[in-house]
Amino acid sequence: MNIEGKRNIWATYQKEIAGDRFFYVRSCVRQNFFPGSEKTFLRIMKEELKKEVFEHAAHTTCSGIGYHTDVVPFETAMTMVARQFALMTESGYENFTTSCITSFGLYAEILETWAHFPEVEERIRQHLIKATGRTFIKPANLSHASDVIFKFRKEIGAVSKFRLVNKYTGKPLQVVEHIGCHYSKMFPNKGVGGAEYPYVLIGMIEDWGGEVIDYPERRHCCGFGFRQYLVQANRGYSIACSKKKFESMAPYKPDFILTNCPGCPMFLDRWQYALSEMEGITYGENGLGIPVLTYEELAGMLLGYDPWDLGMQVHQVPVEPLLDKIGIPYDSQRKFLTIDGKSMGQPESPSFLKFYQHE
């Protein structure tokens, strides 16, 4: 990878990220897809970094999924977002942090719209007052949760118990980073590093000891694409997108894929199973898949949190090969046990994608 040109681009696209007192809004889908991630973010922020993070019980969907599937009009989406801002204002916060990339993109789009068309903002304020009696102050700072982890990556790295180094070879792990499309493709100046070479995940990987793989389809969509997946008849488009990425990255033998979006880890992880069942192909070494992690899982993993507390047992592609490469201990017997020791059920073995057996 020619790093010089990219560093110039990263230097151009820098954004201000708040340092404390975050108003945190969760994603609609992440708690189903990767249930430990948001909890891990809160744990890192509160326990490791001693930051103040506030969640409001009345927070709802931002309507981003509905907006991007053309079932929620922009006017409605803006009013719902205005209500989230009102909750933040009422709680006494001004730094808005989202867990979801699509939420982040929608908030950025709406703030940008209001900056260019103040009359639209005024109209939405009237809608909100009429509907809820609420009013709001716009956030002083808008960041995605991965921006926040990026900002504190050196602090996290300093207290981490593990590094992204292969314990068998002593070499840095080779990582594919995948950024959600709505992070900075729409508004490059809202993301760290812009749209072409977002630096937000690269910064974490490099600071935590790994190396980033530059492969041809690096900026290609994961395949979620909303309507591509949500309409069953269109899912061939979705899985074809993911397949294109896997075929492009596989020759570089990535140790894992790192993502910062709710949909990307879901599709890059689950489609590996679907592709193995539909076409009998696998993309990892020896019939295994390529593990897919969220940035919170990665940070928690390196900090020494129990992989099963991070929710890694719900991944379709087993993460144990990666844990073994780094040298992170785990109890195989506890993988499918709940926190109080009860069995949570175990998935059937896939036909082709191998389940990993601990050495």
Binding site: Q232, A233, N234, R235, G236, Y237, I239, A240, K243, K244, A274, L275, E277, M278, E279, G280, S351
Partner: protein
């Protein structure tokens, strides 16, 4: 293999390193005048077969140059060899020989 109710769509990206260019090379050797083609579409516009079917000689030419030859055999059979395309070609491409060469290429290469 499992059926989830959808299939993996084929990638339609044209990758010249992976495409089968044997027919294109053969045809180019047999009828070099096709290099003069400017893609004006006069051939397709006047095509008698194209008037009644979806046959499009310009499209066939483009597909061969891209190495997209999967449906070529069936497509090329629609040509009636009337030669009107050749009469209107402003670049003097020998289109009848082109069609003949394509048929020979399919016969030899498959």
């Amino acid at each position: 293999m499992k059926d989830f109710g959808y299939s993996v769509l084929k990638d339609e990206t044209i990758d010249y390193d992976r495409q089968d260019m044997r027919i294109a090379k053969y045809v180019l050797l047999q009828e070099p005048s096709i290099q003069l083609c400017i893609g004006c579409g006069s051939c397709s516009g006047t095509c008698a077969a194209g008037h009644f079917t979806e046959f499009n000689i310009r499209r066939v030419h483009t597909l061969i140059r891209r190495g997209e030859t999967r449906l070529l055999k069936k497509e090329i059979q629609k040509c009636m060899f009337c030669g009107k395309c050749q009469l209107v070609c402003p670049r003097g491409v020998n289109l009848r020989n082109l069609i003949l060469s394509i048929n020979k290429a399919i016969e030899q290469i498959g």
